[in-house]
Amino acid sequence: MRNVYVLGTGMIKFGRYPDKTVPQLGGAAAILALKDAGIAIKDVEMFACGNLQLSNAMVGQRILQQIGQTGIPVINVANACATGSTAFREAYMSVAAGMYDIAMAVGVEQMGKAGLLGGAGGGDPAYSTEGKLGSGTMPAVFGQAGIEHMRKYGTKLEHFAKISVKSHKHATKNQFSQYRNEVSLEDVMNARMVAFPNTLYMCCPTGDGAAAAILVSEDKLKQLAGGRKRAKVAASILTSDPWTDRDLILPDVSTLTRRASKQAYEKAGIGPKDIALTELHDCFATAELVHYENLGLCGDGEAGKFIDSGGGVHPGLGGHDPVNVSGGLLSKGHPLGATGVANICEVVWHLTQDDRAKERQVPNAKAGQAHVIGLGSACTIHILTV
């Protein structure tokens, strides 16, 4: 396999764009990435497009119909919340395998105010089990992931709430973030409960957004980078949920993450101590907490202690092992298909001292990781290095 580099990135601010279409949002991010790479759409040889909610609608081709119909192969990818990162991985693989030298990945989603997600049934509504046989809504499912940690290790509500406070503080420094307001611990604890223990501020919002990346081979990098610092894709891992005792009843988001994490560190030849920043899948505050342990940022059962000791907090705010300095899904937003590419953009920007992360730059970042979970389940981890 060949080395692959991220030559360009582009992202539009996450938020609500009711007057735009999905191809327009995705096209806007693609144009930004092409410009950042210093190339044109005619130079792109392959395009992987991640979008979930219009996965039968040829979104990738429709993006090219907005920005340049060059006739290249297009793959439309759907993989739950890991949609964007799986598209990125398709582009990565096509370059790594030597098939193409320049590939583009776009993640895009337009959710509007989509609501809870998960748990709704089809057919005769009388036979929908939602609310009658427990709940399959995302807040309830991820609430229970936190409760499981509480049961095992005595984790407190405050631990989860602190994650939301941190996320919101980080987001104030991110111009791409959907929400940029600070919240206090009291605000989070006293907010309306959605599904115990996740209050409103411990749940990510729904919204619209897009992000894009241009991936190139080493030869092309030398030819096109013009001396600019560019990040290498040191590991691109995808796992699905292996059989575990309760996975079919209560989705197990930990085992497949641990498996992906182990593979990613091995592939990159580094460990958690070498990671300067982590963007992880904090769809709910409870999810972030369990992933501290799943990604090896702290030991098993130590996630509460980790957050209490400033773990996950930007070094500029007195913390260590920064997690989601972008504001994460909780504040930056989570337009499903866009998330996986946006997380990679964030890591790349810190590694290359890009102006787009200027306000929140993690100092001396040589390696970073982006983790995504798509329930159902898919897990991607990308480690990038400079």
């Binding site: 499981e148 409960m193 959605v194 005792d245 009843i249």
Partner: protein
């Protein structure tokens, strides 16, 4: 015969295939030779070991213990909140998702430790009427009475 058929047609229906209403309400699973237990009786093969033909029916106990729970405060239109959703571990080695009844949601949030491992038992009740007018029966778990 015609009368009997009609009587069957108007009878109650379980909300899921693995809830059996007779002779008394219980859950019916399938167990693979490898030990994995599933609630969907028509599955293609065992997702633990991959074997397709090693399933035997297994009647599940009506008693279990709560593993974890959440209190749902926001749901889809028409679903009454708050309610307690739980994962109940059964002695056979399988888990079931269901509502907890006779547990105060407020209290459960205050003292989650009291819900973990809580012994519970299966109860059934009419959850809805379907388009054809049949009672749709769902199950939940309540704290064990004995």
């Amino acid at each position: 015969m015609a009368e009997q058929a009609q009587a069957t047609d108007t009878g109650p229906r379980p909300i899921v295939a693995w809830l059996k209403l007779a002779p008394k309400p219980h859950l019916e699973a399938i167990k693979c030779a490898c030990g994995a237990i599933y609630l969907d009786p028509k599955r293609v093969a065992c997702s633990k070991c991959g074997e397709a033909d090693k399933f035997k029916p297994l009647t599940l106990s009506d008693k279990g213990k709560v593993y974890v729970f959440s209190v749902v405060h926001q749901s889809y239109p028409g679903i009454k909140t708050p309610y307690v959703t739980a994962i109940v571990d059964l002695p056979e080695g399988v888990s079931v998702r269901a509502n907890l009844t006779d547990v105060d949601p407020e209290q459960a949030q205050k003292e989650p430790n009291k819900i973990f491992n809580l012994p519970v038992e299966l109860v059934t009740g009419v959850a809805a009427k379907d388009r054809e007018g049949h009672d749709v029966i769902a199950f939940s778990y309540r704290p064990s009475k004995n």
